[in-house]
Symmetry: C2
Subunit: 321 residues, 2 copies
């Protein structure tokens, strides 16, 4: 029988495809290759009208979001974003004003983070779909990788968790435009990524698909377990509100959804105090939410230790709770 | 009234979008940026299931085609392809075997031209759409640009013209799989591009959208006219057959369709004999089809000089004869 993609899930599909090539490519947020004493970082991330641009949301915000999620992976490797390209497919009846608004959003995001538009491609199609390409640079000795976590390191996250999950559920419930727009509010953590390298982070990954997804991957890459203490999560106030108002478990909102594009990272325990102080002074934030220990991923909730079997969000897979 | 993309056409849309940015990006087949004594070349080109992968065509050939059209722009600038990324959208019910066949095709093309797969992105969507990203390198003093054509230069093309137009029309007429597959037969002209720089080509552009489209752009960029002598076109035998069999004018097949991904270039007349000999000895071919003269684009047909108003193939526009 023919196996269809919808029965496998994104990560398994990608592993099978990787296995077809007689060489490996790096298992990081970006592909990278050496150029003099630097690495060039390359990332492509796509959005489709259907699943990423909620109806009624503002096209300028969608453009900003589109650029931001691509720069986010450059940020998670400690890189500096330089260029951005957009390969866009749009239906014939798309208003020019819509495309112009998307471009204004892209430009706004790129300018804010010091990157430049470098062109791209425009094709017509039935469905709206944008593939972004971000190019960054990083000094060879300053790159953050997914591999490097050591037993005893603290597991930390920048910023706060659960905002986008809350916005998603509120948008589904109320249909209000403000929630759709909030879903698109993403900032790549460029300054954070660069600071984390200086502060001695041992591994880092972006949080696009949520904490569960990211620690699933960190465990696979590092061969180590990650323990998360639910009581320590830095919750966004919208997550607390939505959790109370809608009766959704806080771990669902803060760990199993993603969309914040924060950086999850590990750092030796002895560096933690210095690091939080350094970040705070510069208007950034980080919080320890657990540690690297054993070989399983564990959630500590109300004093109980619960194995995390969940792999987080995947395309082609129905979300499992 | 809202202006829709379908009323404007790809090139005008792109010009309007470029005008929104306070800086220019190069008007070439690829974007490029300096890195040491080289340029890094970047190109993104997309295909959609609907318009680029004819029904009944072989997915492995589609994968090869997808990689080849992206490497083609690296080739047209005299570059060496290095890496390739694929941002793919596929429906949930796509068979895994289809995706595997596409990847085999990509790998086959990349291996042939010395490039490596560097990962990408996989998302689900209603419509099949692939955005490719090719990365190449070229020494700073060896890059071919679109700008540089000089009055008196010969206008030349590598290889032969009209094969893909012929395959398209034959496929529409007969529905035979062999024509669908022939449409996907593309080889990036990597050796040709590098040779053309050495041979003193003054400008170059790839032929993806056909000769009319390419000279429209060369004229805009160079501020010069291009004169084509219909009797000098190096026609592919399938073009001659389809032209006779289907009664389609040869200039339609050879100049107004594209899909061959050959390189159109200009070269000083005094270098022509040496260049053709050099190419021929190495199993490549080139033919002068006209020259750079005046400020208009002109077709010479049966001794008459006919202004070429045609802009060639554009997305979002109905093809005009």
């Amino acid at each position: 029988m023919e196996v269809q993609l919808g029965r496998i899930g994104e990560r398994d599909i990608i592993e099978r495809i990787r296995g077809m090539y007689p060489y490996a490519w790096p298992d990081d947020d970006c592909f990278y290759f050496p150029s003099g004493d630097r690495y060039i970082l390359l990332k492509t991330d796509s959005i489709s009208g259907a699943s990423h641009i909620p109806k009624g949301s503002d096209p300028e915000r969608a453009g900003y979001f589109f650029a931001a999620i691509n720069l986010s992976d450059i940020a998670a490797m400690g890189g500096t974003p330089r260029y951005f390209m957009a390969a866009m497919t749009m239906p014939r009846d798309t208003p020019l004003s819509f495309l112009r608004a998307v471009e204004r959003g892209i430009y706004k995001c790129l300018s804010r983070y010091g990157a430049r538009m470098a062109g791209g491609d425009l094709k017509e199609g039935k469905e709206m779909a944008f593939a972004g390409i971000a190019v960054g640079v990083v000094d060879k000795d300053k790159m953050l990788r997914r591999k490097g976590a050591r037993a005893g390191d603290l597991l930390c996250v920048t910023g706060r968790l659960g905002k986008n999950a809350a916005a998603y559920h509120m948008w589904r419930k109320t249909g209000q435009r403000k929630w759709a727009n909030m879903l698109l509010e993403v900032e790549p953590k460029v300054r954070e990524g660069q600071a984390l390298h200086r502060l001695g982070a041992t591994s880092a990954i972006d949080l696009s698909d949520g904490v569960y997804s990211s620690i699933y991957q960190l465990r696979r890459i590092n061969g180590k377990g990650f323990e998360i203490d639910l009581s320590k999560l830095p919750l966004h106030r919208e997550a607390v509100r939505a959790g109370n108002g809608l009766g959704i478990a806080i771990e669902e909102l803060a760990l199993n959804f993603g969309g914040e594009y924060e950086i999850l990272f590990t750092i030796p325990a002895r560096r933690y105090v210095m690091a939080t102080t350094y970040m705070k002074r510069r208007g950034m934030s980080m919080t320890a939410i657990g540690r690297v220990t054993g070989t399983e991923n564990i959630l500590i909730k109300d004093g109980r230790r619960i194995p995390i079997r969940n792999r987080g969000y995947e395309h082609f897979m129905r979300r499992v709770g």
